[in-house]
Structures are given as structure tokens and as C-alpha cells.
């Protein structure tokens, strides 16, 4: 990396310059879940807007080796990327984004650590593991192998890893005749009768029940589902500072999705972190911000956001059957970064008998891949500790959350399942059918 490119990358970006708005008021340090539990992270203010002054200095400071000094403080790597600092900043500073870019600058030009590279390749891991599901699941949950993996790779032996579900969602969906092509490859239903489903890696390889529930709910409301070719959204790479690889993912996804977006199809995702990446991070982190990227961003919806929007238009089938249970709900950090409120809670309120309670906790700790790392696992567990204890204390048999890595973290820590909100909606529709037809259907859903 040349000095010129460093200046280019840091100085001419709206994200970096938002640091100028910083009042040094400490609200970001106050809300930071990592700084709350771990002194090794000095807090978002210090590594973000304050350190940014040095990053923005021109000419770039040179250290004694003649290399540009990219950041005065490598402790930025303790940032989990949860984004709470940006959410709570009263002055509009893009603190988390500044920090993510700083981490990427540190990593740029270095070969990534094998562990960080590996856990960023979520679709690769999915693709290679799925055919060997029984073996892979046995290995990844065998204590001896996990100790070995921790020793060799640095993935903590107790960190939550998902179970492979066997054949991928895509191949099952294709086999049952689902639309899986690019726009123009096959005759498509009109955009008001179909949506593009961004399933992400989790629903493809591990949580196919989430994909099934999403399809059931979307079809119930008159939307056929199209699952065009897609790759990992790139967020794990972004989180690990591997921006080049993430840009490749972004480009490939945008190539496919933009064609649909331009035809008026909405892109709906069950992973709230993937949908946030499509919406915002391609531009804010990766500088992938051309017309195609913007078309994809504009067309992308988190599934609960999409369903609630249908409801506001009076188009959601509200003929939900009874789902009688207490349900602790954790709103993941990435959902908050969407800025769309808490749509899952609003949807839960439509289901008779479902008593959802917002746990009102900042972060479960996992932050994508952060809590998998040997050196960060304990920190991540302490971040989520209060949440885990309150879910356990609630006595509820399971909990709900919109993001897969959070669900795995919460399920592992609480010893009880954590489900996607759409699974409860699917269950409520099924319950309605079970008691004989759609009793109480309302609001003219498009069947």
C-alpha cells in the first residue's frame, strides 16, 4: 500500500470525516459492550474519532522504518463491530465504521491469520462441510477435536458452532422446482407477486428450517420466492478486516441482485446482518457504491421489516393461530443498525398467546465471528452474560433473535433453543390451519 492510497482511503471519505462532528462527550464509550467488560479495549472514542485525527493527518506520519503509521493504536482490533457506538452517538459520528476501516488498514498488505481467513469463508466452509454432514458435525462437536482446533487454529473450544443440515437449502429448493436462476433465465412472476430471497450462508447450510419458515410465510402472503445464485454477503470478511475479499463477494452478489432490483423485485433476507450488509456496509465499509449497488441497497428488506410493511398496507394475512408461550426476545446489534425499529416485536404482538418480552440487552457478545476467537471468547461471554442469565431466569423454553450467530451464541450459553422470529409466524399460520381453516383471517391478504 502506498502512502497516497492511505490518504485516499482515509481522508476523502465521509465516514472518516464524520469524526469532525465528535464532541468528545464519551457517550460511545459509555454504551460500548466490549469496554464494559474488558479493559484491553480502551473504547470506541479513543480508537475511533480521537485516533482518527492521526489517521487523517497529511502527510501521513511515517515511523522510523519509513512505513506509514496507519493507526496510533492497534487496540482497535478489540472492537467487536457491534455498532452500538454509532447508534448512540448524538452527533452522527460513524464510529463503528471508522473503526472497521482502521482495522482493515492494519490488515491491508499483510497475509491474514489463517484462523481469521478461515472463519471469514462461511460459504466455502458450508460447501465443503455439507456433503460430509455426519462427520463434520461429529468433528465440530467432539471435545477432543475442538481442543485440537483451538490449539492449531485459535477457535475457542467452547465457541458456538452450528450443525450442518446435510444437503444445502439451494439444492433442495432447486430439486423441488424453485426458481434459482438469474433474472431473465426463466419466466418470472411479476414483482408484486414474488420476492428475491437472500438466504445467506446460515439458512443455506445450517438452518434450513428458517428458510422453510420464511418461504411458508411469504407464500402464505401471496409471494412466490426466487432464490437466485448468491454468495456470502461478505460481512465476516469485513469484520475481520479482509476488505479485498469482501469486495469480490459484494460485486458478485450485486451483479445478480441488481438485475432483479431493476426489475422491481424486492430482496428479502432472513439474516438481519446479511441484509444490513447489502443495505449499508457495501457502501460505508467497502466503498462499493455505484448505481447497481444502490439499486440493491434500496431493494433490500429484512424479512420482519418487509412483513410489517405489508401489515401497514393492510396486506398481511393476520389469520394467526394461537402460539401460547412466553418468549424472551433479543434484538441483535445489526438489526439496530438498520434503524427500522423492532419489527419482530410488532409482528409478535399480532400472534394470539405469544407473550414476547424484549430483553433490552445491548449485545450477546458473539458479533459474528468475534466470540469464536480463542482470545476473545471470554470477553464475548461476559458481554452477553446478563442476557443469558435473564433468559434462563425467565423459565421460557426458548428465545428469539433475528441473527444466526447471535442465536447460536444464545442457544449455547442458555442451553435452550433460540429461533428466528419468522419461525413463530410460520407456526402461528400452521396453528390456524390446524384448527380448521384460516379462522379470523383479515385484511385482504393477496391469496
Amino acid at each position: 500500500m502506498t502512502i497516497a492510497s492511505v490518504v485516499e482511503e482515509a481522508a476523502h471519505e465521509a465516514v472518516g470525516l464524520s469524526s469532525d462532528e465528535c464532541l468528545k462527550c464519551n457517550i460511545c464509550n459509555e454504551v460500548c459492550p466490549v469496554a464494559r467488560v474488558d479493559d484491553r479495549f480502551p473504547g470506541p472514542k479513543y480508537v475511533g474519532p480521537q485516533a482518527q485525527r492521526f489517521r487523517l493527518a497529511a502527510p501521513v506520519p511515517i515511523n522510523l522504518d519509513g512505513k506509514p503509521v496507519l493507526t496510533p493504536d492497534r487496540t482497535v482490533d478489540w472492537c467487536s463491530g457491534c455498532g452500538w457506538c454509532t447508534t448512540a452517538c448524538p452527533a452522527g459520528v460513524k464510529i463503528a465504521e471508522v473503526n472497521s476501516r482502521a482495522r482493515a488498514s492494519i490488515r491491508a498488505g499483510h497475509r491474514p491469520r489463517l484462523r481469521d481467513w478461515l472463519i471469514s469463508q462461511t460459504d466455502l466452509i458450508g460447501r465443503f462441510g455439507a456433503p460430509f454432514t455426519p462427520l463434520a458435525n461429529w468433528t465440530l462437536h467432539n471435545r477432543l477435536f475442538r481442543a485440537l482446533i483451538e490449539l492449531v487454529l485459535g477457535i475457542h473450544r467452547k465457541a458456538p458452532l452450528p450443525l450442518y443440515a446435510g444437503r444445502s437449502f439451494r439444492s433442495r429448493f432447486k430439486r423441488r422446482g424453485g426458481l434459482v436462476g438469474r433474472a431473465g433465465e426463466a419466466a418470472l412472476p411479476p414483482p408484486d407477486r414474488a420476492v428475491v430471497y437472500f438466504h445467506g450462508c446460515a439458512a443455506n447450510y445450517y438452518e434450513q428450517h428458517v428458510a422453510d419458515a420464511a418461504i411458508a410465510v411469504l407464500e402464505r402472503n401471496g409471494f412466490q420466492v426466487i432464490a437466485p445464485p448468491q454468495e456470502c454477503c461478505g460481512l465476516p470478511m469485513i469484520s475481520n478486516g479482509l476488505y479485498q475479499g469482501a469486495r469480490t463477494k459484494a460485486r458478485r452478489n450485486i451483479d445478480v441482485l441488481a438485475e432483479y432490483a431493476r426489475l422491481g423485485y424486492r430482496i428479502v433476507g432472513t439474516s438481519t446482518s446479511c441484509t444490513h450488509t447489502l443495505k449499508a456496509e457495501y457502501a460505508e465499509m467497502l466503498d462499493v457504491d455505484d448505481a447497481d449497488a444502490r439499486a440493491v441497497s434500496q431493494a433490500t428488506w429484512d424479512i420482519c421489516e418487509f412483513l410489517l410493511d405489508l401489515h401497514e398496507q393492510g396486506r398481511l394475512d393476520t389469520g394467526f393461530g394461537r402460539v401460547d408461550q412466553d418468549l424472551p426476545y433479543h434484538a441483535p446489534c445489526q438489526l439496530r443498525s438498520h434503524g427500522i425499529g423492532l419489527p419482530a416485536l410488532d409482528l409478535f404482538a399480532l400472534v394470539p398467546g405469544l407473550r414476547a418480552v424484549d430483553m433490552d440487552h445491548d449485545c450477546c457478545g458473539i458479533a459474528g465471528t468475534y466470540g469464536l476467537k480463542k482470545e476473545k471468547y471470554d470477553t464475548a461471554m461476559r458481554v452477553g452474560d446478563d442476557l443469558f442469565r435473564r433468559i434462563e431466569a425467565s423459565g421460557a423454553p426458548e428465545s428469539a433473535c433475528d441473527s444466526e450467530t447471535c442465536r447460536w451464541q444464545i442457544a449455547t450459553a442458555t442451553g435452550r433453543p433460540s429461533k428466528h422470529p419468522v419461525e413463530y409466524l410460520a407456526a402461528a399460520y400452521a396453528a390456524a390451519d390446524a384448527v380448521g381453516g384460516a379462522a379470523g383471517t383479515s385484511a385482504g391478504a393477496a391469496h
Binding site: 464519551n26 464494559r36 448512540a88 443495505k279 410489517l308 401497514e312 439496530r336 407473550r355 414476547a356
Partner: protein, 445 residues
């Protein structure tokens, strides 16, 4: 769902109090805030008003109410009932305050060694309202290496009689520096981390015993102990009780630079109350656009990752603050812009935004900039106030109201309380007697 009886823009004291009051009356309330509000910078005292010759806060409020264009000219009469409500509310929420409108002022020392006149304070600062007895000493204790509170520096300032501005003062001021358990090895020691440590009963017992020994070493006789405002965050009431018991003396929390632990405590209990009443507080929501029909706001659109979050509203409360809270922006062109609705602002011309000594709070005429309202706090055009409200379902509360020099007049919290009270009453349809009507069942959230 993204519709609400009332949307409150801004999560400072005025916004949260308006929201809580409306939610108590059964309204569905959502608070939309760009970030955490100015309460997170607050040091504890509830400033109702002050003037050097005023006998008490009520007197100061009356004085300000006689000033043409001051918010108290309209709201002065509401300060007393609003304060009664606030005192009852905070007591119910486990964060009781002491003091009153007519109990006179007391001197509260601060973390930079100054003294501020106070009339209503959280319990942890109540000792400031009691006159100093003859021979009574002040011992200031703080953690070694905590960079926001230097006991010796604070004590050397407070040892000068003139700092106390004519108030009753201690016979002697002494500083002790202590080592609370485990803190010397901690990096990044800030007020919040120490406050969290005080939430732990075992830790605080040990810390307070260390402090008690240090205080005892300063000699015999009655003392009060001044501590940085870090006595617990979530378990503050018990931490305060423990402090007074272990130290065997009245304790005073000195306000520090932000983060303001006393303000965060107040924010947390008000937010919890709002949630318990089915209200919601959303952070990271900057208003992008407001939908209006003739003289009515129908929806608020806030910024989101892609498309705006649209909240349909029955009424809108502007609690966005003044220049400091970014409810107003002074443009380089000299225009002072109201950031949500673009309402006409009353304020000085650009040449006199600042005058005289920039460090003198009295030299900031722009601080008085804000919105003019009718007597139910609906915004009017300051040039043509008699034309009636610009919007029928909008209310303006807090620092956004024109005509207050809150840094000099020390009336900011009183204006917040009284305007929240007035706005909530007018949006609830009628007067406080409505409190007696049955409330809507609490929303299941």
C-alpha cells in the same frame, strides 16, 4: 407498530418526561432520538432557576417569569406542580431527590473545584442543601489515578473562601487519595467503570472501609465526605446507603465531566418507566423528513440504513434541544435552522451570536435562540405570533424554547419539567385531573 399517538423527538430530560407523562395517561408513545440525549452529560442537580439576589428557586422563577419572552413568562406557574410530580415520580422509581422550590439554595462543590448553587438534587447530593455547622469539615476522597477527579486539586480550590460565593462553607477542606481494590491495575479508568464497581456489594464494602480509614486519619470532629459521582449505577440507592453507613458521615457526590453518572441514572429509570408503560425509545433515528397536511404533522420519517422508518403520529413533541442538543443549527449564512420541521426561529443576528468574553456563559446571546409558542406550546411564527399556531398537533419543550439563557439563569431543568408538564397536559386533552381515569392496560412488550 410504527404508528403512535405521540412521537417525541429527543431523549433528553424534557423529551423523556413528556413521554413518561403521556404514557402514564395511556398514550402510545415512541421516543425517536438521534443518539443518547444530553442527560448522559448531566451531573445531578435539577436547575430550576437562580439569581444572585434570589432568596430561593421560587423567587428566581418569579424573577425570570417577569422577563418578557422568557419561557417562564408562560410556564412559571407550572414549575411547582411539575416539580411535585417529578419528585414523586423519581421517589417511586427509586431515585429520590431532595430540595424544593422554597427551601433556599445550597452550595454543591463540583469535580473541578467550583461550587454551583442548587435547590433540588438527587439524594446523593442532598447534603449540599444543609448549612455547614461550626467546625464541620469537608474531606474529599478519590481514587488515585482517576483522571476525572483529583482530590488535592479540588480541595485546594475549595479551600479558598471566595469560591463558595457567600454560601455557608466548611471550616476546613482536606483531600485524601485512596486506592480502591483492584482499580490501580485497571486501564481506562473512567467514572462509569468505577460506578459499576460500586454496584457490587462486596467490592463497595471493601472500598468504603478503605475510604473510612483515610477519612478518619484526617482528624476528629464532624465531617462530610465529598466523593466523585460514581456511587453505583444500577444499585445506586444501596451504594449510597452503604457509603453513609460505612463512612459514618453525610456523603456528597461531586458532578464530574461526562459521562454524567447521575444523569445516566435518571435516564435509565425514566426509560424503564416508559417501557413499563408500553412506550418505546429508539436510538439512531435522525429525523429525515416530516409529512404534514395543513397545520398537522401526520408522520415522521427517520433515517435508516436504506429506506426511512416512517412513524405515523397523532401528535409530535419537539424535544430536540437548542444548539447543544442539535435542535438548532447556526448556519454560516447567519440563518438559525430548526432541524426537524424547519420552523421559524427567533434569535440574534449573526454579528451578535457571541459577544465579549468567549468563556463567560453570559456572552452567548445565541443561547437564547429558539422557537416561540402559544400557551399550549404549539409553535408560532415569532414575527407574527398572533396569527396562531403553525401546527395544531406539535408541541415544543425544553431547551428549544426561545428566550432562555440557561447557563446563566440556571433554569434549564425547570423549563424542561414545566414544558413537559404543560405539553403533556394539553395533548392529553385536559388537565391533571384526568389522572384519576382508568388507564389502558399495559402493553405486552
Amino acid at each position: 407498530m410504527p404508528s403512535a399517538d405521540v412521537a417525541v423527538i429527543g431523549a433528553g430530560l424534557a423529551g423523556l418526561l413528556t413521554a413518561v407523562r403521556l404514557a402514564e395517561d395511556g398514550a402510545r408513545v415512541v421516543v425517536l432520538s438521534e443518539g443518547n440525549g444530553t442527560l448522559h452529560w448531566a451531573g445531578g442537580p435539577i436547575d430550576l432557576g437562580f439569581a444572585p439576589r434570589a432568596s430561593d428557586a421560587a423567587d428566581a422563577v418569579r424573577g425570570l417569569a417577569r422577563r418578557r419572552g422568557h419561557p417562564y413568562a408562560l410556564l412559571g406557574v407550572d414549575v411547582a406542580p411539575a416539580l411535585d410530580w417529578f419528585l414523586q415520580l423519581t421517589t417511586d422509581l427509586g431515585l429520590p431527590h431532595a430540595g424544593s422550590l422554597d427551601g433556599g439554595f445550597g452550595p454543591l462543590p463540583t469535580g473541578i473545584g467550583g461550587v454551583r448553587p442548587v435547590s433540588v438534587v438527587p439524594a446523593a447530593q442532598a447534603a449540599a442543601l444543609e448549612p455547614w455547622a461550626p467546625g464541620e469539615r469537608l474531606v474529599i476522597a478519590g481514587q488515585a489515578g482517576f483522571k476525572d477527579f483529583w482530590p488535592r486539586a479540588v480541595a485546594s480550590s475549595l479551600a479558598r473562601p471566595e469560591v463558595w460565593g457567600g454560601f455557608s462553607r466548611p471550616a476546613r477542606v482536606t483531600a485524601v487519595t485512596v486506592e480502591w481494590p483492584g482499580l490501580h491495575e485497571r486501564r481506562n479508568l473512567n467514572a462509569l467503570r468505577i460506578a459499576e464497581a460500586f454496584d457490587n456489594p462486596d467490592w463497595r464494602t471493601a472500598a468504603l472501609d478503605i475510604t473510612a480509614r483515610a477519612v478518619a486519619s484526617t482528624g476528629p470532629g464532624p465531617v462530610r465526605v465529598g466523593l466523585p459521582a460514581v456511587l453505583g449505577l444500577r444499585d445506586h440507592p444501596r451504594a449510597l446507603d452503604a457509603a453513609e453507613e460505612r463512612l459514618g458521615a453525610p456523603v456528597m457526590e461531586f458532578p464530574l465531566v461526562p459521562p454524567g453518572i447521575p444523569g445516566i441514572r435518571l435516564h435509565d429509570v425514566l426509560r424503564a418507566k416508559l417501557r413499563a408503560r408500553g412506550g418505546r425509545l429508539l436510538l439512531g433515528e435522525r429525523v429525515a423528513r416530516v409529512e404534514t397536511t395543513r397545520r398537522k404533522v401526520t408522520a415522521v420519517a427517520t433515517t435508516a440504513a436504506t429506506r426511512e422508518l416512517v412513524t405515523h403520529v397523532g401528535a409530535l413533541v419537539l424535544a430536540t434541544g437548542g444548539i447543544a442538543g442539535s435542535g438548532l443549527i447556526g448556519e454560516p449564512s447567519g440563518v438559525i435552522r430548526e432541524t426537524v420541521l424547519g420552523l421559524p426561529v427567533e434569535g440574534p443576528p449573526i454579528e451578535s451570536w457571541l459577544s465579549g468574553d468567549p468563556l463567560d456563559p453570559g456572552s452567548l446571546p445565541i443561547a437564547a435562540a429558539g422557537l416561540r409558542t402559544d400557551d399550549t406550546l404549539r409553535p408560532v411564527d415569532p414575527g407574527r405570533p398572533t396569527d396562531g399556531p403553525l401546527f395544531d398537533n406539535v408541541r415544543v419543550v425544553g431547551a428549544l424554547l426561545a428566550g432562555q439563557q440557561w447557563m446563566v439563569e440556571r433554569c434549564g431543568d425547570g423549563v424542561s419539567l414545566a414544558s413537559a408538564w404543560r405539553a403533556a397536559a394539553s395533548l392529553s386533552g385536559a388537565a391533571p385531573k384526568r389522572r384519576a381515569t382508568p388507564r389502558r392496560a399495559e402493553a405486552v412488550r
